[in-house]
């Protein structure tokens, strides 16, 4: 687990470059400001740094403005452009309360041009600390392992390690960990990885070698001893002895061409954990393992479970094949003889256009767009093809598995401002549910229709009939067209005040829809979705949406 924390962020940095994205923001009005007060126990706290970070995209996060609270705990951040920011006091040992759940201080704020936003206040509570030592059954310290401290009632599914995780909450070279900034409440402490947790493992690195163990040393989550944390208290000696989950077993096989039976050398092989219904669980495991000259591969350290192995077209834009996922079971020994069949995939080609555009400078923007096609078959190896848009507007995807294929724009490089992919057309018909692709089909004449525009939709969501349940946040979805023909365009965050702003929207008719998102980032059906149709031209459209929580409660 340690290793992945070292390697992954570096790679990600290489690939995604948070700085890059921000560097090209054109000059714009930066006269907006945000002010408020930071308090502890009702009293202003001087000398606290308050930072504004961009939060428009998870790939573009960096600090854009900083200030320090005055003697009364008051702060004012100035020089802000229009956009979405996270405002946070840099007080990581503290939490803020709010409708029953404590969280790290920070509020998402949507800033309009020249707006002066006030009363973005933070009432800090000193968080508690849990500390202890993790050792293995031989008494040796467990080094570089992530310790998980989660609320009593929250399921601890063994979240896969991501590149967004910093070096925090890891055990040190003595096996000692210290988790701070915990809001008052009841917690369970654990270390190791649940079998179904999944992980993005690289080169055999990543993924814990220890089985999930809860304090004080139990495997079952239900038997975990609950630890009570009060404001500013430290609970120490929360020591856990964790067993090695076993090194797992080796799984070997061959990758062959489905038609000729010939071995396929030098392809990457990955695998996923499946449930009984052959649906994918957890993450995708990229082992860095390539087949040799005779198509053979071997995966190491696989724990008992149900899986599927498949090939991965690593970074090859022009890979023209995909594989059938080869299911296998690991029980109590090594598995051999897995055969992964590679098939020539379908191709999709066509042209990308910007509708109603006569400006050659705008047209040139298309050539900076990277698009991808993605087909996700149930329980299967996802197939994926990436391509750029050539100077003549043409594009080509290859190696696609049969199924419904969605085409979208890639995250890197960021889509030029003002450009939006509106729809994918085949024979003039919008393919809202994806393009139906049969095995080995060669689909031509597909049109990727982009639109360009600088309109914006600004608005506010007002909540009536109650308070939004703790942990839920509002989100706005924007679709082009209305009703049955609506096609998803963009998701926009609604800030703590209920404000939102969607910029660079091409002219057109849009359907706005407000929903709630749970702490797991999944849609939560807390109320009937509220929709509104707006017409955007070149300027700004203002809209107020009212969410009635009581209406949902009344419904059966």
């Amino acid at each position: 687990m340690r290793n992945i924390n070292r390697v992954l962020p570096f790679l990600t940095l290489l690939v995604l470059c948070p700085v890059f994205c921000a560097a090209q923001t054109p000059a714009r009005d930066t006269s907006a400001s945000i002010s408020g007060q930071v308090t502890i126990g009702g009293k202003g706290v001087p000398g606290i740094t308050v930072a504004a970070t961009t939060s428009s995209s998870p790939l573009d996060k960096r600090t854009v403005a900083k200030t320090t609270t005055d003697d009364d705990g008051k702060y004012q951040l100035t020089g802000l452009a229009t956009g979405q920011f996270t405002i946070m006091p840099i007080a990581k040992a503290y939490v803020v309360g709010g409708s029953g759940a404590y969280k790290a201080p920070g509020q998402s704020i949507s800033v309009a041009e020249g707006e002066s936003i006030t009363k973005i206040d933070f009432a800090l509570v000193r968080g508690g600390v849990v500390t202890g030592r993790i050792t293995d059954t031989d008494g040796r310290p467990v080094i570089g392992e992530r310790v998980s401290v989660v609320a009593k009632d929250a399921p601890d599914a063994g979240r896969p390690v991501t590149m967004f995780d910093g070096p925090r909450n890891l055990t040190d070279d003595r096996g000692i960990y210290r988790v701070y900034g915990l809001g008052p409440g009841s917690y369970k402490v654990s270390v190791g990885q649940a079998p179904s947790g999944g992980s993005v493992a690289i080169m055999g690195m990543g993924g814990s070698q220890y089985s999930k163990t809860f304090y004080p040393g139990v495997q079952e989550e239900a038997k975990a001893t609950i630890i009570e944390i009060n404001e500013g208290t430290e609970v120490s000696n929360i020591d856990i002895i964790t067993g090695k989950s076993g090194r797992g077993f080796s799984v070997s096989g061959r990758v062959v061409d489905a038609d000729s039976g010939q071995p396929v050398p030098n392809v990457f092989v990955g695998y996923s954990s499946l449930n009984e219904g052959n649906q994918q669980l957890g993450g995708m495991n990229f082992t860095g393992n390539q087949t040799d000259a005779t198509g053979k591969f071997r995966l190491e350290g696989i724990r008992p479970g149900h899986y599927a192995a498949y090939t991965i077209a690593a970074g090859q834009d022009t890979s023209n094949s995909y594989s059938d996922p080869a299911p296998f079971d690991v029980a109590e020994g090594d598995v051999s003889g897995i055969e992964v069949k590679v098939r020539r995939g379908a191709t999709i080609s066509g042209v990308a256009v910007i509708e109603n555009n006569f400006d050659s400078a705008v047209a040139a923007l298309l050539h900076t767009v990277v698009v991808y096609a993605f087909s996700n078959t149930k329980g299967g190896a996802p197939s994926f093809s990436q391509g750029k848009i050539n100077a003549d507007g043409s594009f080509l995807f290859s190696g696609l598995a049969p199924g419904k294929v969605q085409i979208n724009v890639a995250g890197f490089p960021p889509l030029p401002k003002g450009l939006t992919l509106m729809r994918t057309e085949v024979d003039g018909l919008d393919q809202r549910e994806g393009i139906e692709v049969t095995a080995g089909a060669q689909i031509t004449g597909v049109r990727l229709v982009f639109a360009y525009g600088a309109g914006s939709i600004r608005g506010e969501v007002q909540v009536e009939g109650g308070v939004l349940p703790a942990g839920l946040t509002l989100a706005l979805s924007i679709r082009s067209g209305t009703g049955d023909t609506a096609r998803f365009i963009r998701a926009v965050a609604v800030d703590a005040r209920g404000h939102f702003l969607a910029e660079n929207i091409p002219p057109g008719t849009y359907e706005l829809s407000v929903g709630a998102i749970g702490p797991d980032r999944m849609p939560a059906h807390a109320f009937e979705p509220v929709t509104r149709t707006v017409n955007v031209e070149s300027g700004q459209v203002q809209v107020i949406l009212v969410v009635n929580l009581a209406a949902k409660k009344a419904a059966p």
Partner: protein, 622 residues
């Protein structure tokens, strides 16, 4: 809302693919990462013969089809390291990598390996394999199939202390990073599992572990430290170096293996830095959508890489920016390597001075890097005359081109990242050393067996007419290999030929000092000088080696023939670059030859002969 779900799924998938794209880079990523951030040690190791290094013990007998590399990973206290992860990376032939794990005894086996040279990388949290400590993959130990390894990992060192602000309050959650002073960062530990990055806790305490022994700078805050992704709130600040300095005045911290260096308390300054921004110019092959141009910012005086960013190839603007930069001198480097054309990397460098304000409008223009290509050929020999018993193959031989220059630059480190492990060798003996900056290079040749020796090296441009049969062992005076080759920017030098003899001799011996008990003088080296006058200027016939404290010395991979053997005391090298072998300089060579001729200690080495215990009287040359 199911759509949202699908988009997220696709997004995660895209991310993995981008990671894969990095892995698919030639030279592979793990060593590349390591190399990207460290100082490489001088290429030619002075304690061995100038160009030759045996790869394997001759007693190993292996079938040529496929084979195994096995071994054991232990900590320095002798206990098995049971949580070690291993990677066997082929560094010749196809650049394939195989992961592996150890059993409860620390044992591992890689089987079914095709013949090639391999490096075996062991990773375990908190522990370090010191043999990889140079951070320069071209200097990592090579292993051939049939090898049995014992990998010893040492407990890494620790740096710990408290970060406080000007009022003495703890600074909580600030990233703290340790970098090797003489390295371009603590690469091996960064990317291979140690922890050179930490974050202060609620008491301001940080603890960095798994460090190689050495001198470190320790800094808190700042952006661009590898491994930090989410904004910490400290990313606009100029990093504060221990004790409360900028990089220019940082006080180095000494780390010993397995020891904690405590009290490295940092008084955090939190000053806002400036930015450096600009564009990358030049034509790149943008056919690959995943291509990215890497841009690094290095501290000019030390060449430490401070920050790294990328620009997309498909974006014509190709803008970049660095933030939180203090006043001072910096080197910018931009590099691009197309996944489809790994030979044709491009690079650009520029020095930038920051004085009290942001620096904008920097233009980095990418230009092609150079390459050196050639063929290694085995001299024809009757099977019964071969002395190699392990059926070594050309694909197991390595050719590398280390810089023949005393000082390493930041750009050199980045370009060596493109070059990976050096020249790739195929089964036909064809090799290419890619992506080299203009400059002077040596050849470093590692042969798979002590039974081979480098008989001749010819550059195509100066090669003698090919009419001569290959048995003509005498390179003419005019085109004799002089040890270095100079290449121009973007040059594609090809046709280098390396001829390898298959009946090498060896000589092991001991320096005899009189009266008995006299210490071996420091800096004592033993030289072999060709006795045949026709070879007087053939530097490949000269060999030199260091003398161990017990007086023993060893030469391998020698051309059969008559040699003068002579010892001399040489002053230690002044620069950090590897000293050139004495025979490379015509004046020193002539002097060495005069000494050798005067001493008249001659030894005859017959083909395949291994002399075991040659006594060499000290002072023979003086």
């Amino acid at each position: 809302m199911r759509r949202v779900d699908r988009h997220r799924c696709a997004g995660a998938f895209l991310l993995v693919l981008l990671l894969l794209a990095m892995f698919a880079m030639p030279g592979n990523v793990v060593p590349a990462l390591a190399q990207s951030q460290t100082t490489a040690k001088p290429a030619a190791s002075p304690e061995t013969a100038p160009v030759q290094k045996p790869g394997v013990n001759e007693s190993t007998l292996v079938s040529p089809a496929t084979g195994t590399i096995k071994g054991r990973v232990v900590s320095d206290d002798g206990r098995p390291v049971t949580n070690a992860t291993l990677i066997a990376q082929a560094v010749t032939g196809a650049p394939a990598a195989k992961p592996g794990r150890v059993d409860s005894e620390g044992r591992f086996v890689f089987d079914d390996l095709p013949p090639a040279a391999y490096v075996v990388i062991a990773i375990a949290p908190g522990y370090i394999d010191e043999s990889l400590a140079t951070g320069d993959p071209s200097q990592w130990p090579r292993h051939l199939i049939g090898a049995q390894l014992k990998i010893t990992m040492i407990k890494g060192g620790v740096i710990t202390g408290t970060v406080t602000n000007s009022k003495g309050d703890p600074v909580v959650g600030v990233p703290v990073h340790a970098s090797l002073v003489n390295g371009l960062s603590s690469s091996v530990t960064d990317s291979l599992g140690g922890g050179s990055l930490a974050e202060s806790d609620d008491r301001g305490i940080y603890r960095i572990y798994g460090l190689l022994p050495g001198q470190y700078t320790v800094n808190a805050g700042g952006s661009g430290q590898f491994g930090l992704f989410a904004p910490s709130g400290f990313d606009l600040d100029v990093p504060t170096y221990y004790p409360s300095s900028t990089r220019d005045t940082a006080v180095p911290v000494s780390v010993r293996s397995g020891d904690a260096t405590t009290g490295i308390d940092i008084k955090y300054r939190g000053a806002e830095g400036h930015s450096i921004s600009g564009v990358v110019l030049g034509t790149v092959d943008a056919s690959a959508a995943t291509g990215a141009i890497a841009i690094t910012l290095s501290h000019a005086a030390t060449q430490s890489i401070l920050s790294l960013t990328i620009a997309s190839t498909v974006d014509q603007r190709r803008v970049f920016s660095f933030h939180g930069v203090a006043d001072g001198e910096y080197d910018l480097f931009a590099g691009f390597q197309s996944p489809s054309q790994p030979d044709a990397a491009l690079a650009a460098t520029k020095r930038v001075t920051v004085r009290g304000g942001d620096v904008t409008g920097i233009e980095l223009t990418l230009a092609s890097l150079a390459s050196i290509a050639g063929t290694m050929t085995l001299d024809p020999i009757k099977p019964e005359d071969k002395c190699d018993r392990r059926a070594s193959q050309l694909i197991e031989a390595l050719v590398n081109a280390p810089r023949d220059e005393p000082k390493k630059s930041g750009s050199q480190v980045m370009t060596s990242m493109f070059a990976g492990f050096g020249g790739t060798m195929n089964a036909k003996g064809e090799f290419t050393m890619r992506n080299l900056e203009a400059g002077r290079y040596r050849f470093e040749i590692k042969l798979p067996t002590e039974a081979w020796y480098v008989r001749a090296i010819n550059l195509a441009a100066t090669a003698a007419p090919p009419a001569q049969p290959s048995s003509a062992a005498k390179p003419s005076q005019s085109n004799a290999w002089q040890g270095v080759v100079t290449i121009k920017s973007g040059e594609r030098l090809s046709g280098v030929s390396i001829m390898v003899g298959q009946d090498a001799a060896g000589l092991r011996g001991r320096v005899v000092v009189t009266p008995e008990g006299t210490a071996i003088p420091a800096g004592l080296r033993v030289h072999l000088v060709p006795a045949n006058r026709e070879q007087a200027n053939n530097i490949l016939r000269y060999s030199e080696t260091t003398v161990n404290s017990d007086g023993s010395f060893k030469f391998t991979n020698l051309a059969p023939g008559r040699y003068f053997i002579v010892s001399r005391v040489e002053p230690p090298a002044e620069s950090d670059a590897a000293p050139r072998p004495a025979a490379w300089d015509p004046i020193t060579r002539a002097k060495l030859r005069r000494e050798a001729e005067a001493a008249k200690t001659e030894v005859e080495l017959r083909p395949c002969q291994a002399i075991g215990d040659y006594p060499l009287k000290l002072g023979a040359a003086q």
